[in-house]
């Protein structure tokens, strides 16, 4: 009986996925799946799954390990759709995996033209209908058949030139369009966000993150510096369907550490931009770090929350910015509501009533080096944040570090790094990391769990009362969301640089975390899950 039932389940779960836009809109109502990079359009990364919970998480064990063959940093966030995991590997490679066993189903190997860069990290897929969307290290967007991994179409985001543009992010699907952004903030590019037609791969619109002189904001750049102004969009945006607005964090201006040739605020670098997803038109912007000199991209998760704010519910966007301040903005208008440091910082005296920083003398990098906190990696970076609706807390992986920033005028050479000098860690100065639980209505830290080193791992929240996170030494960990107690850990052997996900197949909840060359998936022993009773009915 049991065998027959299992076969029945398999037959159900391997039907071709049909991911309609409607399913993406209601991704939170499918907690058994993980349908977008952030898990849902608002990026709260919370799942209403509680089979794994504070009481039994201590028994969590490895279910399977898939070896991608690609060592090094693994920044992917896999999608899970009806029992199948779709993971990008990096280097133009992707794979589909049976999410229960770890057995591969198909793989895709991008066909790179001779001379193109073939290596680079990738952060994941977007999905619509029977198509998966992925960017490649040579700045192409590819659409793959979800059943076979076969290439359907390919769109060029930017003409290939070595040492200039590249692409890493997971595409964001909105309606019938695939939104992507370009990388290259250290390579003297001019950043953009593109939308492509999901059916044909034809470009529907482009938003230049750095305006030309005749556009609004063009006067925030000196002379022709805007042409190499950076402002990459290398982390996936979020989306509010009611407001029909998509929110994207924009990266650093270039050159990173020298501002003499780009005097001005350098819009829209280090800003959050609110765009119309149908046209790419700018609705509003908020600049966190005007005239940035520390590579403090504003690409961190722009999380959408509806918060009780001084007596009424407000639609807000929150972000733990790389500049070490936690921000709350009204997401209809861009109005600044709150800004408070969540990590050590000594560059801004305070933020004024509009949220603009009042600078300290430590802000400017110099020829002989200026010691400034936070470090170039920032208080937070691409490590995903999470929000738990039960505790009403925002959880962020924090880097507590400072750097010495050097500055010198760079000579622009196409295809060469465009930093404007260097940075380094000070000697004999303690650095550490932490998982912090922050009340988003006040910016106050409610609890923190200290890590030995600054962590590059993101967070996941579940209704099992758990926060899953990772650290730089390779520990995947589970914490009590309410009090911050560490309840489970495993040393995965290499630094964790992406965020865990959770999903459910055949009555069993799983936790997946990529680590180095491996994709690790954990579950509870059968006797502790509902799988056994369900199968023996």
């Amino acid at each position: 009986m049991r065998a027959i039932l299992l076969v029945f389940f398999l037959a159900v779960t391997t039907l071709p996925a049909q991911i309609t836009y409607n399913r993406l809109l209601h991704a939170k109502e499918e907690p058994q799946n993980w349908l977008t990079y952030w898990g849902d359009y608002s990026a709260i990364r919370h799942r209403t799954l509680d089979q794994i919970n504070t009481k039994n998480v201590k028994d969590l064990r490895l279910a399977w390990m898939y070896q991608t063959g690609r060592a090094g940093v693994n920044e992917t966030v896999p999608l899970v759709i009806d029992g199948i995991m779709y993971a990008t590997v990096g280097d133009g490679i992707a794979v589909a995996i049976d999410a229960r066993s770890g057995r591969p189903l198909w793989s895709y190997h991008h066909n790179f033209p001779p001379g193109h860069a073939t290596s680079g990290v990738n952060r994941g897929f977007g999905v619509l209908g029977e198509r998966l969307f992925m960017v490649t290290p040579d700045s192409n967007l590819v659409a793959l058949d979800i059943r076979t991994g076969r290439l359907i179409w390919q769109a060029e985001m930017a003409p290939y030139k070595a040492g200039t543009h590249y692409a890493t992010l997971a595409p964001l699907v909105i309606k019938d369009k695939v939104l992507v952004g370009i990388s290259g903030g250290e390579q003297a590019v001019r950043g953009f966000i593109d939308a492509y037609d999901a059916a044909t791969g034809k470009r529907a619109w482009r938003f230049w993150t750095i305006p030309s002189p005749d556009e609004p904001g063009g006067d925030t750049w000196l002379a022709d510096s805007w042409q190499r102004g950076g402002g990459p969009a290398w982390l996936t945006g979020t989306y509010d369907p009611q407001l029909n607005t998509t929110y994207w964090g924009i990266g650093n201006p270039g050159p990173d550490l020298y501002g003499g040739d780009r005097k001005g605020d350098n819009l829209y670098s280090c800003s959050l931009v609110a765009l119309d997803p149908d046209t790419g038109k700018l609705k509003w912007h908020f600049q966190f770090t005007p005239h940035d000199l520390h590579d403090w991209d504003a690409t961190e998760t722009p999380m959408l929350l509806d918060l009780n704010w001084k007596g009424r519910v407000r639609k807000v966007v929150v972000q733990a910015n790389r500049n070490a301040f936690f921000y709350v903005l009204d997401r209809e208008t861009g109005e600044y509501l709150l800004g408070k440091p969540y990590a050590r910082q000594d560059w801004a005296k305070e933020l004024d009533s509009k949220g603009r920083p009042i600078l300290m003398s430590t802000y400017e990098p110099t020829q002989d080096g200026t010691h400034t906190c936070p470090g170039l990696a920032g208080g937070n970076n691409w490590m995903a944040t999470t929000y738990n609706p039960l505790t009403k807390l925002f959880y962020v992986s924090v880097q507590e570090a400072c750097n010495i920033y050097y500055s010198a005028p760079p000579v622009y050479q196409e295809g060469k790094p465009y930093w404007g000098s260097v940075f380094r860690g000070p000697n004999n100065e303690e650095t550490w990391g932490a998982l912090k639980a922050i009340d988003p209505t006040t910016g106050e830290t409610k609890w923190e769990f200290r890590y030995h080193q600054p962590s590059w791992a993101g967070n996941l929240s579940t209704s099992g009362g758990l926060i899953f996170s990772g650290d730089e030494d390779g520990y995947l960990m589970a914490f009590d969301a309410a009090g911050g107690k560490n309840l489970w850990k495993i040393n995965t052997g290499v630094r964790l640089v992406t965020a865990p996900i959770t999903f459910m197949v055949n009555g069993k909840q799983y936790i997946t975390m990529p680590s180095g060359a491996a994709i690790l998936t954990f579950t509870l022993p059968d006797e502790l899950t509902a799988a056994k009773p369900a199968a023996s009915k």
């Binding site: 005028p409 050479q413 790094p417 404007g420 260097v422 000697n427 650290d471 290499v494």
Partner: protein, 259 residues
């Protein structure tokens, strides 16, 4: 102590603008932002050796020096710097300029043979090793004369806490049953700590089983302030002669995941 190693991988070449003084100013800018951190603003040494007196600078060809800059020196804390050709040439020009305008570090006064006796008498080999002789507890001294400036050697003897060698920071674990174990912190993460004790054996702990984990701010090496001026001078003279080849890959701390 974990930062220098981590940051070595993040160093980025600077492309300074050409000025009227041409490569010299460019070289100076490159030196200041990439090299001065260890070798001092005037290249007369700090954590790293003086570049004015170094054998390499005086006897090596530009090509040999460039090779060291670009690839680093295995088994030492000298990382490689991936400088563009123009920047490397400008840096070389600046280094030659410095050598011409600063007095070279001369051989120190003192008697190396007498210094060797001071080394033996003071028990240095209980913690340090030269070649295959001595303890692995403290930093290896096989090529310390080539790796450090004279001022730095002196300071390391009389005030070792002023700049503790990378990966030789001290740590003390006090267990719940009251035992106190001190040693060099070999590795550490959020949950565990790995110690090398003075007897050269390892001791491993879960932080959860410790009452307290103390990161020592002072060096594990005692300050040798009681040495007479003559003994100190002789000891430095002896250390200066230690320019042996350290076995390639001898730096155990280069293993992956060690912080």
């Amino acid at each position: 102590m974990k930062l220098p190693l981590l940051v070595a991988g993040l160093l980025i070449p600077v492309c300074a603008a050409q000025t009227n003084e041409g490569g010299l100013d460019q070289g100076k800018a490159i030196f200041r932002s990439n090299c001065a951190f260890c070798h001092g603003l005037t290249a007369q040494g700090g954590r790293g050796p003086s570049l004015i007196s170094s054998n390499l600078l005086h006897t090596g060809s530009d090509e040999a020096i460039g090779n060291v800059v670009q690839h680093g020196i295995a088994g030492t804390t000298m990382p490689g710097f991936d400088l563009p050709k123009d920047d490397l040439a400008a840096l070389m020009q600046f280094l030659h300029h410095l050598s011409g305008s600063h007095a070279a570090e001369s051989k120190p006064p003192g008697d190396p043979d007498a210094g060797k006796l001071v080394y033996a008498r003071s028990g240095c080999s209980n913690c340090h090793r030269i070649g295959n002789t001595g303890s692995i507890y403290g930093p290896e001294l096989t090529r310390i004369g080539a790796a450090r400036s004279l001022d730095f050697l002196r300071q390391s003897i009389v005030d070792p806490s002023a700049d503790i060698a990378d990966n030789y920071g001290g740590i003390t674990v006090i267990t719940k049953d009251g035992r106190k174990i001190s040693g060099v912190r070999v590795n550490e993460d959020t949950f565990t700590v790995q110690i090398r004790k003075a007897d050269q054996n390892f001791a491993f702990f879960d932080k959860s089983e410790a009452k307290e984990v103390i990161h020592e701010t002072k060096s594990m090496m005692p300050a040798y302030t009681h040495l007479s001026a003559t003994d100190l001078q002789n000891l430095i003279a002896y250390l200066y002669t230690l320019r042996g080849e350290q076995a390639a890959g001898a730096d155990a701390n280069k293993a992956g995941g060690i912080h």
